[in-house]
């Protein structure tokens, strides 16, 4: 955590909304992506990300320690779990939960990428997202934090409120299961 971030957190604790909004701008893409990978739905991810920042502002007085991003991700994870539980109780079909076309609404081809390559990349991203959604939620969060967001095992343990052993075994099971799904879809590249 940088000194600037620490200063923003202290100011936010005193109720400075503009300081908190600077923290929001730093972390909003990360939190939104975490929510989208967990939920597979852009609208729900945006709502949950918004709720995460509202909760974080309300509870920033309780924040202790050096892992602010882990603390934020923990709030987001809990919000995602709540929504997933609610979905389980009242299953609904989201109109935006289609990964084939809207994986990335404002995605543009990279420089030098042909239309075919671009389409292929989007297709692969959609297949990977579908595979992630087939994992149990406790394994899904661990693999998202580790392999997509680049968190350390210690940070993942903080976010998920578990110990390192649990993180290791969930991550291994998640990767193993994903390997099976991706292999069945023909999406694994073995060099």
């Amino acid at each position: 955590m940088t000194n600037e971030e620490q200063r923003l957190i202290e100011a936010s604790r005193l109720g400075d909304l503009e300081a908190f909004n600077q923290l929001v701008r730093i972390y909003e893409v990360r939190i939104y992506n975490l929510c989208y990978r967990m939920l597979g739905d852009h609208d729900a991810a945006a709502d949950v990300a918004q709720e995460t920042f509202i909760t974080a502002f309300a509870k920033i007085g309780h924040f202790r320690g050096n892992f602010f991003r882990a603390w934020l991700c923990r709030i987001a994870t809990n919000e995602c779990y709540d929504l997933l539980r609610a979905r389980k109780r009242r299953p609904t079909l989201s109109l935006s939960a289609h990964h084939d076309l809207d994986e990335q609404p404002f995605d543009l081809p990279d420089r030098g990428e042909s239309p075919d390559e671009f389409a292929q990349r989007r297709e692969l991203a959609a297949a990977i997202q579908e595979s992630i959604e087939q994992l149990p939620s406790d394994q899904r969060i661990v693999v998202i934090l580790s392999d997509i967001q680049g968190f350390t095992y210690e940070e993942i343990a903080t976010v998920t409120a578990t110990n390192l052993g649990t993180v290791k075994s969930r991550l291994s099971r998640a990767r193993s299961r994903l390997r099976e799904i991706l292999r069945a879809k023909g999406c694994l590249r073995l060099d």
């Binding site: 939190i31 992506n33 990977i128 693999v143 291994s172 099971r173």
Partner: protein, 193 residues
Amino acid sequence: MNSSQPYISTASEHDYELLSCYLDNQLSAAEGSDLERRLGQEPALRVALAELRATTEALRTLDPLQPTRSFTLDATSLRRSQRSFNGILPFASGLAGLVMLLLASVQLLTVPPATAPAPMAAMASPPVATERTMAEAEREEPALLSAAATESADLQQPEVAVSTSPEPPLLLLIFGTVLIGFALGWWLLQRRV
């Protein structure tokens, strides 16, 4: 996008955990060298490692998505969220639950088991009325006497059962516990970050 896999890996769950940690440099030096020795000897383990590596690499190819809006807060959104749920309901239900538990405890502790509670005492009046009815019936219609006696016996039987029933305090206990459980659950949920 796809590639054909001519071989299938058959590593155990424990091996996958070792391989997963190996990919993240989370094994001790001894565990790492032991695994590398096995990798040199076991082709199936090498396939499993290659597949796991390919899986993590596929995940890392996912580009970060740009949200369609900003999540910065303003005073309006904060007010709306504060108004939506302010915790009065759980507090009130916890308090009501506590009162119910206290009432139930008082009832259970103060009422001797053999004595009928006040509401039950009221139910003791019907036999008096029944006696009067029987006296009148004796005067008016002796033939009805036997039927009235049977009826009276039926009415008196439940009185004994009801007078010793602990249902009201038990119901209070149950409702009180449920309400306190709800309040505690809400409190724990709020403590969760």
